[in-house]
């Protein structure tokens, strides 16, 4: 079976075609770079996403700081992560890479800050 996908590993968005035999990936074509192959294989077996959002900051130059999951998390867990971020408030200063929530929603992945707020 052939599954058509759009590689989203980078903004180029290459059209991929993943050839499957049962639940095994036989080949990936259409990718411009090796990341496309990795993405294609993963998307049909275990799709994941990076989640980005914001949390409140107190006592800083801005009222919000942007955050992300340090690594990608299973697609099905996106809303658990989003929920865990609700009503979180951290004190300034915040540095890029600071851990905002460790092991968010039991994913084993940390939420880290993506902006400096003094």
């Amino acid at each position: 079976m052939e599954i058509k996908l759009t590689c989203i590993a980078c903004p180029m968005g290459c059209p991929l075609s993943v050839e499957m035999d049962g639940d095994k990936v036989v080949s990936v074509t259409g990718n411009t770079c090796p990341r496309g192959k990795v993405y294609g294989e993963k998307e049909v077996t275990n799709p994941t996403r990076i989640v980005t959002s914001t949390v409140k900051v107190s006592g800083g130059e801005s009222v919000m700081v942007s955050v992300k999951t340090k690594n990608d998390i299973p697609k099905g867990k996106i809303f658990d992560v989003v929920k865990a971020l609700k009503d979180v408030e951290i004190p300034a200063p915040v540095k890029i890479g600071d851990i905002v929530i460790a092991d968010v929603a039991g994913t084993g992945v940390d939420i880290v800050a993506t902006k400096n707020v003094d």
Binding site: T52, T54, M64, K115
Partner: protein, 421 residues
């Protein structure tokens, strides 16, 4: 009057990369002027990931990508001024700026890099009569409100226009608990990146209705709903296709337009298609020593290419300060986009001044499948690249080498076109 070798207007990714490259090319007297309270430009509100894979080989969010360049500018000791609005630039390169400490003041520059970015198109997007109730925002304004001020514009939302900001905001509003009912696009194709359609709409089951537009707005004080209708191939609503959507918020994401009031004011010649300056191989405008890069030159979708283009502009500005204008500019080669290619940046090439490799960037006017991007030197086809699909939402490029151009000393015109496979 203060004087600098290079003054850079705008401290977004374009201005930052231009400054760093100019400094590395041996120019010490550089000043960046930024009207905002921080460097980084539009990236500060683009909190999603997807930036920098080409440059840093890792996927960063907007603020992280910006901080890499801000760090470089700090490490290189480049001077910048925040909260400083450039009001005017004269043709002989006197920059008039204003801030709270100094009031209105003038700076003499030897070279100028225009890096003012772009703003959102908004007026004209909704050409329907009637009230404009509260609840109608441009997508970029909504992005700023949600991501930087923590303010949610509404709970139920329709988005008109499938530009990247609109797509990104569809997901963002969903995360913040809003229900995004539909994204409507007037054109038969989306103006956004494919990855954003997958990641921001498909992932959340948000429908994208192509060839649709808003034909009616309900609500006096606050928006209560909108009516969508399908349009024919001339963009006219088709009677009988109307559908009502209840919503308290309408976001408009109908494209970006380069911010060129300053360039116009100083007499820079404009390309009506890009709404940006016409530039040569050095990204120099018709006014010698005035360079342009980033979204002010033409609207980019990938910041990596903005940084790449801006670094070239910075190097060229440095070369101009050191060597002066091109001596006896000989015949230049004209670049033309035809058959689906809407424009090219640059518009002309002086082979003597070009770097070993020159990237020509362009956009196409429609969606073409299984086609060739072909490059002709006068009447001879010299390059042909097969593309499974090209679309208006994604910038294309052709690379030209100096070595190759030197083999054609009488070359007058380079034409780039889309050909059927």
């Amino acid at each position: 009057m203060k004087a600098y070798d290079i003054v850079i207007i705008g401290g977004g990714p374009a201005g930052l990369a231009a400054a760093a490259a100019a400094k590395r090319s041996g120019i010490d007297s550089i000043l960046i002027l930024e009207r905002d309270r921080e460097l980084g430009g539009i990236l500060n509100q683009c909190i999603h990931n997807g930036f920098g894979l080409h440059t840093f080989k890792e996927e960063l969010t907007g603020p992280e990508y910006a901080s890499r360049f801000i760090d470089q500018v700090e490490e290189l000791g480049i001077e910048y001024k925040l909260n400083t609005m450039v009001m005017d630039i004269s043709p002989n390169k006197v920059v008039t700026a204003m801030n709270r400490e100094e009031g209105l003041y003038e700076i003499q520059a030897k070279a100028i890099v225009l890096a003012m970015g772009c703003r959102e198109r908004s007026r004209g997007a909704l050409n329907i009569p009637g009230y404009r109730p509260a609840g109608i925002y441009s997508a970029g304004t909504a992005q700023r409100l949600v991501n930087m001020e923590g303010f949610m514009p509404g709970r139920t939302c329709v988005i008109l226009g499938s530009g990247d900001i609109g797509l990104i905001m569809a997901r963002r509003m969903t995360f913040e608990g809003a229900k995004v009912k539909v994204v409507a696009e007037l054109m038969p194709y989306s103006g956004g990146l494919k990855r954003n359609i997958v990641q921001c709409l498909d992932d959340y089951g948000i429908p994208l209705k192509l060839s649709h537009t808003v034909v009616d707005i309900k609500g006096k004080e606050r928006l209560e709903g909108i009516t969508l209708a399908q349009v024919d191939n001339k963009g006219k609503p088709i009677p009988g296709t109307e559908e009502f959507y209840e919503c308290d918020t309408l976001l408009l994401s109908v494209g970006l337009i380069p911010e060129n009031e300053l360039s116009n004011g100083m007499g820079v010649a404009m390309n009506p298609i890009t709404s940006g300056p016409i530039v040569n191989e050095s990204l120099e405008t018709n006014i010698e020593g005035v360079f342009a890069c980033g979204n002010v030159l033409h609207v980019h979708d990938l910041v990596d290419f903005v940084s790449e283009e801006a670094a070239a502009a910075g190097r060229n500005a440095a070369a101009y300060v050191k060597d002066g204008a091109a001596a006896n500019v000989k015949e230049v080669i004209t670049l033309k986009g035809v058959d689906g290619v809407r424009y090219t940046v640059p518009s002309t090439i002086n082979v003597d001044r070009m770097a070993d490799q020159l990237i020509v960037r362009f956009r196409v006017g429609g969606v073409y499948k299984n086609c060739y991007v072909s490059t002709y030197f006068d009447d001879e086809r010299v390059l042909r690249r097969k593309r499974p699909v090209v679309a208006p939402g994604e910038m294309e490029e052709v690379k030209l080498s100096k070595e190759q151009l030197l083999k054609y000393p009488d070359l007058k015109t380079i034409t780039i076109k889309i050909e059927e496979a």
